[in-house]
């Protein structure tokens, strides 16, 4: 298919662009296969380059022959284009609609994007599964290639870490007992006390309480003698009960006597999607009263979801660090709420995950390799009218939770809020291939490493990285326990109010903060140099004085 077929009118002159907190620009609108471009052809105004894949929804309005297209983006920005001529406007609108909803992944921009920078360190090779997990391995764990051809579990990577005592045949049997073949694998190894966090899909116990000896053996193999472990089921007990009717279920006490099961209620799918839609609608309503705002914020339930996820992650971390127990986390498929909990728990427990590199590795390991279906979940954002089926802001919620912890521990993270916002943007629309596909198998088939550029290749260039480093960072090797009180969890303004309020004063404050710290460093080095000089002088004097 040629993009040209979809572009009925490639350019229109005299288009006026309105953007939040920026002066209006009049210029020429161009449509290319992947971009909507507006250029005034003057040097002093910024051009607009908008990826079609970033467009969530468009609205058309007409006043006489002047058409207006309201473009609502997946990053939650809303822009307005005034286009003279009804026909041009209709053509542009239908082209944008077609180009922003391309079905085929291989037509996406990352396959066409050529980097304007030299790739120094290829992001595709930075976090190979072998390297990721090898660091975690002890004599109790091994890497298994039972899923080499994705036959055992289509959503797992080729290599997974499992207890050494369990062989591949057992894994194959366990896979038949777990949803989507997602048998329990190692997610995190707590060096401090050797406890582990595992994740899996729900056990397929069904209504008649099916058992699987191999499954019991596998997870029991992770327990120290005489110790008990915790199973954290991310579903409310009634939801887990209902799952039995569809062949799913949860671990019965009788079959898993060494495990204590705890149910938490983390929502999924359309409930999250609707929550996002309501929240964004509330944030965009400029004319409302305080009562209406607070009531809409409450009704969106977004903050409740954040609180539930942080609370569950704290629970998992507590079991491991305070109780000295191993933990198995699962929900239904083990690709959404499970990953929110396991990844956030690692942020709490492991100082490495709070570094730039470590956080990228966490996203790679616990989200991309672990088979979170990015393509499905991030196909639509908050403005889409189409009925959400597979879309859900699961990853955005995770980023929101990380932001909450970062805000509570402003010195413990090497990266800043901008980095989290960047990941949100790129998960939904990107020139990079990192978030394409739904799992490792799909990415391999799409040959992403060969055909696209990794987001990490770009982010880790020193000149880019600088913007994402937290100037207050002081490595903190402790476990950090965030407060989950409702008054401690705030609305993430950097994402949800980003286009509704000017950030000028906050940006200035950030610059001021950087300035204070840089100035301190400058003084430090001057004083150190001076002290060295003085020390040299003293010894020099000493030499002169000796006869």
């Amino acid at each position: 298919m040629e993009f040209a077929e979809l572009i009925k009118t490639p350019r229109v002159d005299g288009v006026v662009l309105h953007r939040p907190f920026m002066p209006t620009v009049e210029g020429t609108l161009c449509l290319t296969g992947h971009h909507l471009i507006l250029s005034s052809r003057q040097d002093n105004t910024e051009e607009l380059w908008l990826l079609h894949s970033n467009i969530d929804y468009i609205e058309k309005r007409f006043v006489g022959s002047l058409g207006t297209i309201i473009v609502k983006c997946k990053d939650l920005r809303i822009i307005q284009l005034d286009i003279p001529g009804m026909e041009e406007c209709l053509n542009i609108a239908s082209s944008i609609e077609a180009l922003s909803t391309l079905d085929s992944v291989s037509l996406m921009y990352p396959f066409f994007y050529r980097p304007m920078f030299e790739v120094v360190e290829d992001g595709w090779n930075m976090f190979l599964p072998e390297e990721i997990t090898l660091t975690l391995l002890t004599d109790e764990w091994r890497l298994s290639s039972v899923n080499k051809d994705f036959g055992v579990c289509p959503t797992y990577p080729q290599l997974v870490a499992v207890p050494k005592a369990v062989d591949d045949d057992t894994l194959r049997k366990v896979a038949t007992f777990r949803h989507g073949g997602r048998f329990p694998v190692l997610s995190y190894y707590h060096k401090k006390n050797g406890m582990v966090m595992m994740r899996a899909g729900q056990p397929l116990t069904g209504t008649n309480g099916r058992r699987c000896k191999e499954d019991e053996k596998l997870i029991n193999a992770t327990l120290r003698p005489g110790k008990r472990g915790y199973i954290i089921d991310t579903r409310a007990i009634n939801v887990a009960q209902q799952a039995k009717a569809r062949g799913g279920g949860f671990e019965q006490e009788a079959s898993y006597p060494q495990w204590r099961r705890i149910h938490k209620a983390i929502e999924r799918y359309n409930i999250l999607q609707e929550s996002l839609i309501k929240l964004v609608e509330a944030c965009n309503d400029q004319s409302q009263s305080m009562d209406r705002w607070l009531s809409k914020l409450e009704a969106s339930n977004w903050q409740t979801h954040v609180k539930e996820i942080v609370t569950t992650a704290c629970l998992a971390a507590q079991c491991i660090d305070r109780e000295g127990a191993s933990v198995l986390v699962h929900g239904t498929e083990g690709t959404d709420s499970t990953l929110q909990v396991t990844s956030l728990a690692q942020i709490i427990l492991d100082p490495c995950c709070r570094t730039m590199r470590g956080f990228q590795s966490l996203v790679e390991r616990e989200w991309l390799q672990a088979g979170h279906p990015f393509q499905q979940r991030c196909a639509q954002s908050a403005y889409s009218n189409s009925k959400a089926r597979l879309e859900a802001p699961v990853f955005l919620l995770f980023l929101d939770c990380v932001w909450q912890v970062l805000r509570q521990f402003p010195c413990s993270f090497q990266f800043n809020e901008h980095f989290l916002v960047l990941l949100f943007e790129h998960a939904y629309a990107s020139q990079f291939g990192t978030f394409l596909g739904n799992n490792a198998a799909e990415r391999l088939k799409l040959k992403l490493p060969q055909k696209t550029v990794s987001l990490w290749s770009w982010v880790n260039r020193p000149q880019e990285m600088e913007r994402f480093l937290n100037p207050l960072y002081e490595p903190n090797n402790l476990v950090i326990w965030p407060s989950v009180a409702p008054q401690s969890l705030l609305l993430w303004e950097g994402v949800f109010l980003r286009w509704n309020r000017s950030s000028k004063c906050l940006d200035e404050a950030y610059d001021e903060m950087v300035h204070i710290i840089e100035y301190n460093k400058e003084l430090q080095s001057k004083v150190n140099a001076l002290r060295r000089q003085l020390a040299q002088l003293e010894t020099g004097d000493g030499l002169l004085e000796t006869p």
Partner: protein, 571 residues
């Protein structure tokens, strides 16, 4: 001392709300001014001091096997829970504290016994540190448009106003007297803020006694004179900060609001700030939310909405924004009033001043602003903050709301304020605690009668001495955010719940350091490094900015005893 039934109780537990399972055991002492809890732990020997005047409620909870729980709720929203082994002791402590926390006479208040080891000279210097005449001079008064009137010397015209007031040059004493007779409690229109750039002013008064049809020639002349003293505009705004309904109801009682037909060249506007009773119950509802044990997000957000608190804060800030915009952007003078003109009027005028003039965003400027718009203009501190056991219907968090407006603004403009959150919190505490004489009584006249300048100390000197604790590290006098008029956004989502104020019982030492804490430390370190460098060689140019050092010496000697400044949680 006669109210102390038992001066000392042993084996008392203090429960930390954050970790209630690990109480610390110690001895509770009752003194004339404080409850002091001394931990037994030999290593830490931590002391907790609670000022009696800060306690607003002493509550005895049902006896448990561990003993009798006693809950102290403080006006600064701290909560202390003790467990006293013997029922009898608990009763005694309860009775003593109940009496001690409700003084009946001014003479019982802490400020009359508080003695920070300073000599007479330093005390007097402390009192003269904030000089309102200097403030009017700073604004450019008197000038060819405005003059100091002698009408209220010895509080002859209005006993809740200060004696020195500014009125338009054309206004004679008979006009002042006439106008004052037409205003509630004689609070005639007078200047509070003068905008040098364009001669526009903010004036304040109480409501007119207009009823349904009454007029007063002198009052009309007064307003005409205010309009005429602003050469840039042919009209003025008259702003009634009350909701229209309340103002109309007042007409039946012979009060009310200005009729636009009777006054030439005024534009009348209601601003809809609720009265003190609504605000009191709103804050009460918000405390109930903060007090919930492990609330869900829904409990919290619903409770916050239901309390209406942020809605009221928004109304006050909106009022300030309206006035500031009229003055700065339209160049129009504004007369602000409510009923008596000492609560909502004070809030609206001081918020507007803060938006208009960068001076009030400095440490000293905020002190001056509070001294002018609140202290001198007769905000009823003793009634509103329940200094003495009295009518609970007079109590209302008027000043709390002003301080919260300042805090909300500092969120939007992080570099614009010289002071930090801690300063606002300490101010709040001082307003309630009566450790200093500044906020005693209900008017300037009362304070003179109480001879506070001779018998007590000034809080401003105390705060100034500890100013290093109150500096916002992001503030720079030459920063663009610091300059000119602030134009805050007032969409509902711009208002935040003030956790630092209302969640005091969360143990501060368990929280990770805030950005402000870290930056303050870094800046202090930089200053030391600068000192070390300048001792050896020149300092790198253009970067040094310790704002706090500019006005050094304005406040006299640092003669106050440090220990008295940290009553709570001192080591």
């Amino acid at each position: 001392m006669e109210h102390i039934r038992t001066p000392k109780v042993e084996h008392v537990s203090l429960i930390d709300r954050a970790s209630p399972r690990k109480p610390c055991v110690g001895t509770l002492y009752l003194t004339a001014s404080h409850s002091i809890f001394v931990e037994h732990d030999a290593e830490r020997h931590r002391e907790t001091w609670v000022l009696h005047s800060l306690v607003c409620l002493v509550e005895k909870l049902p006896t448990t096997p561990a003993g009798c729980p006693l809950l102290l709720r403080c006006r600064n929203f701290q909560v202390f829970q003790f467990i006293i082994p013997q029922e009898k002791d608990c009763q005694d402590v309860h009775a003593s504290l109940t009496r001690l926390s409700r003084p009946e006479r001014y003479a019982e208040l802490y400020c009359f016994s508080f003695n920070p080891n300073t000599d007479k000279e330093a005390r007097e210097e402390g009192w003269s540190a904030i000089d309102l005449q200097a403030e009017y001079r700073r604004m450019g008064l008197p000038n060819h448009l405005w003059q100091l009137t002698m009408a209220n010397r010895d509080y002859r015209v209005c006993d809740t106003y200060p004696s020195d007031l500014y009125v338009p040059k054309s206004v004679t004493t008979p006009i002042v007297v006439g106008s004052s007779k037409f205003r509630s409690r004689g609070r005639f229109p007078t200047l509070t803020y003068y905008h040098r750039d364009n001669h526009a002013t903010i004036c304040r008064s109480s409501q007119p006694l207009s009823g349904f049809s009454a007029r007063c020639l002198e009052d009309e002349q007064m307003l005409q004179a205010i309009t005429s003293s602003n050469p840039g505009s042919s009209f003025m705004y008259v702003v009634d900060t009350r909701p229209k309904l309340n103002a109309m109801a007042n007409r039946a009682a012979g009060k009310g609001y200005e009729n636009e037909d009777n006054y030439s060249n005024i534009r009348f506007q209601f601003l809809g700030i609720e009265n003190i009773h609504v605000m009191r119950s709103s804050q009460q509802k918000m405390f109930e939310v903060c007090d919930l044990r492990s609330p869900t997000m829904t409990d919290f957000l619903w409770g916050l909405e239901n309390s209406g608190w942020l809605k009221h804060i928004k109304a006050i800030l909106d009022a300030g924004v309206f006035i500031a915009r009229a003055v700065a952007e339209e160049g129009v003078s504004v007369l602000v009033h409510c009923s008596d003109g000492w609560d909502r009027t004070a809030q609206a005028c001081s918020v507007a001043s803060l938006l208009l003039d960068p001076f009030y965003r400095t440490l000293k400027g905020l002190m001056v602003l509070i001294e002018r718009d609140w202290v001198s203009f007769g905000h009823k501190f003793s009634h509103r903050y329940g200094h003495l056991d009295g009518d609970p219907r007079e109590v209302s968090p008027v000043m709390d709301q002003f301080l919260e407006c300042v805090w909300q603004l500092s969120l939007q403009f992080p570099c614009a304020f010289e002071y930090n959150e801690r300063f606002l919190l300490h101010l709040h505490e001082q307003i309630h605690s009566c450790q200093f004489g500044n906020f005693l009584g209900n008017s300037q006249k009362e304070r003179e009668e109480l001879r506070v300048r001779e018998r007590t100390h000034s809080v401003w000197a105390h705060l100034w001495m500890n100013r290093a604790d109150y500096i916002n590290p992001l503030y720079r006098p030459d920063h663009s955010q610091t300059q000119g008029v602030l134009r805050p956004a007032t969409a509902p989502y711009c208002f935040k719940f003030w956790r630092g104020m209302y969640c005091r019982s969360e143990q501060v030492h368990q929280r990770p350091p805030t950005v402000t804490d870290v930056l303050t430390t870094v800046r202090e370190e930089s200053q030391q490094l600068e000192a070390e460098l300048s001792a050896q060689q020149e300092v790198p140019r253009g970067t040094a900015h310790p704002a706090s050092e500019q006005e050094n010496g304005d406040f006299g000697k640092d003669a106050y005893d440090e220990r008295h400044s940290q009553d709570e949680h001192s080591e």
